[in-house]
Symmetry: C2
Subunit: 145 residues, 2 copies
Amino acid sequence: MDQRVSIITLGVSDLQKAKAFYDGLGWKEVEQTAGEEIIAYDLHAMTLTLYPWDKLAEDAGVSSERAGSSAITLAYNVSSESEVDETITHVKTLGATITKPPQKAFWGGYSACFQDLDGHIWEVACNPFSKLGPKGEFQWLGVNE
Amino acid sequence: MDQRVSIITLGVSDLQKAKAFYDGLGWKEVEQTAGEEIIAYDLHAMTLTLYPWDKLAEDAGVSSERAGSSAITLAYNVSSESEVDETITHVKTLGATITKPPQKAFWGGYSACFQDLDGHIWEVACNPFSKLGPKGEFQWLGVNE
């Protein structure tokens, strides 16, 4: 397997509510036929989709319980501490639960965490050791300049 | 928030075993100080990391139970049906659980699903409607040629 991920799919309990949350971030859905039971947002070289939790489990060949038994977080890196603060203030208005208010992180950055309407965990972080690329691309090695 | 994800972090119960699995896919870890409690793999414009489940929960400000209550799948798209078959045969040798054997999918492609050692669900798919980019980049709209 090459070193890549094509799609991140978040299992959701109410597709329209979940869509309203991600639209509320300023994200633009991929155009598609009305009535489709999946919502797609193209990111850098990959896609994030929202899909009903029970269908996700069925498609994967696992029970709903097993589908919801893994711990994953998604990180969104930004360029400044104030941008972390602003992002958290914004997602709160969309109904996110702030699980960790903005604070200095042990690894030297500044970060906060929230859960979206379905409990998916996001970290919003400013990492002074790893510059983002011109379009916000992130690499661990910090090679983006 | 811009339309992007910087890091996907998979909570794992045994960091070295999890690393052996992902190394076994042919993935190359980002070089780092020995003894660090996080394993990073740079992907396209983002990073996938492995991190102990309990620390992930602590960092996110949630209980381990809540950290492990969301359903997410990661998809890995390939260019041919035989590549789906080969990938599934390979991950099986690494200890993955095949939850859906390779088969025609309702949406017109060909796919299979497996869970890694910690239950994280991967779909391996050939999607004839969305060409991959030269480096395997995926976009829902299929604009990569």
